[in-house]
Subunit: 215 residues, 2 copies
DNA sequence: AACTCAATCAAACGTTCGTTTGACACAGTG
DNA sequence: CACTGTGTCAAACGAACGTTTGATTGAGTT
């Protein structure tokens, strides 16, 4: 899909990589980071590869050189993000805390949350060649967790654990997805650490209210 | 902002407007409808005015003629949508039902929900000249409603009614904002009437679980 | 019928955007 | 040192996009 040459580490005595004028891996990473920021900020259509090159401080052409164009670059950052995503929530965390952490991602990793949100709106159907399986599998853990709490009688049987998981996730992303609504209703800066923290706190509170914590 | 000439109705004996070859109001409406669909589908950056003209079946130039370009058109449909939005939920509806209706908007008015979602991600700050006041005011009604239930002891005092309102709204929009996640977790078509209905039902259930209904 | 203005369209235009080309320079290799 | 391949860049290119221009036609007015 994109240029995935791995630049075989031939250098016998590498002269402190940070001093090298030319370093494919470093350049690739600069581009990936810049692209993540740009795509997160403006979505796919709104992102400009000239802006990405600027942010990365490299020549615009290198994007085609390393990633085979805008589309390849987008898929590259998507893949990279999907890998990092897996390392987020340590399994076994109580659900209220889990949800809290997710809401706080708006502070720690705003780009990741925004990318997820953009991709939802840009999503056209399951025929996409993107691999959503890792995330699905990870979320399945949460669903199972809820099912256990349900089996333990802490939640009515009528509740669909999968739907509840979706609701919690959507609610946790609200500071990212609905800043304009928050601005209007709460009269605060939806991005401010104070509010995000407050909101995350409220979300855990509501989660507990639903009985979603270990007895 | 955009060309808002109102085409004074001079016609003394109007010859059945639907037969007229040239009708400014009809054309304007065709464009607005097409633009709503296009912007809802692809967001601002992704929308193409050529596509809008195609959908509307009119010459591309008429968009500049009537709305002073892409930006003017976008603001025009935003304003129109904001007006229609106010007529949605009849005041005094019990909260669980209110939330249910909102979730079902994904079926009745998918474009409106998507426009709201896009604008959230495209939102850059309160300096925007868009007028979000009507929605804020309407939602304030919901916040007050929750506050009353809280005063009646149906909800712990620690809960922030405004945050809870945001959570419910975000959750209600999930079938629109997180279709890819739903696809992966629930293994269903997130847009199918069956699922949207099921999800809306679940959302009312959870809302009731929180005690958010009249005693 | 002549006149006028609004509505519509086709074509051209200038920009922006992403990609391609071609040249150049650095760093290993023999 | 000459050679080679990779990394980098500047410039050009072509397509796509939004807008403007100028002409044409329908409809109401005198």
């Amino acid at each position: 899909m994109y240029n995935c040459r791995v630049s075989a580490p031939k250098a016998r005595r590498s002269p402190k990589p940070q001093e090298r004028q030319r370093d494919a891996d470093r350049t690739r990473k600069l581009i990936l980071d810049a692209a993540t920021a740009e795509f997160a900020a403006h979505g796919y259509s709104g992102a400009r590869i000239s802006a990405i090159a600027s942010r990365a401080g490299v020549n615009q052409q290198l994007i085609s050189y390393y990633f085979d164009g805008k589309d390849g670059l987008y898929q590259a950052i998507s893949e990279r993000w999907r890998q990092r995503e897996s390392e987020l929530v340590p399994p076994g965390t109580p659900l209220p805390e889990q949800v809290r952490q997710y809401a706080l991602e708006a502070l720690d990793n705003p780009d990741g949350v925004r990318l997820l949100a953009w991709s939802g709106l840009e999503y056209t159907g399951p025929d996409s060649d993107l691999d959503h399986a890792p995330r699905s599998q990870r979320m399945q853990g949460t669903v199972d967790h809820i099912r256990e709490l349900q089996a333990a009688g802490r939640l009515p049987d009528e509740v669909d654990p999968a739907c509840l998981t979706i609701m919690l996730m959507a609610a946790a992303m609200a500071t990212t997805t609905l800043p304009h609504v928050i601005e209007g209703v709460c009269q605060v800066d939806p991005k401010s650490p104070e509010f995000v923290d407050h909101y995350a706190e409220q979300l855990t509170l509501v989660t507990r209210l639903l009985g979603l914590e270990p007895a």
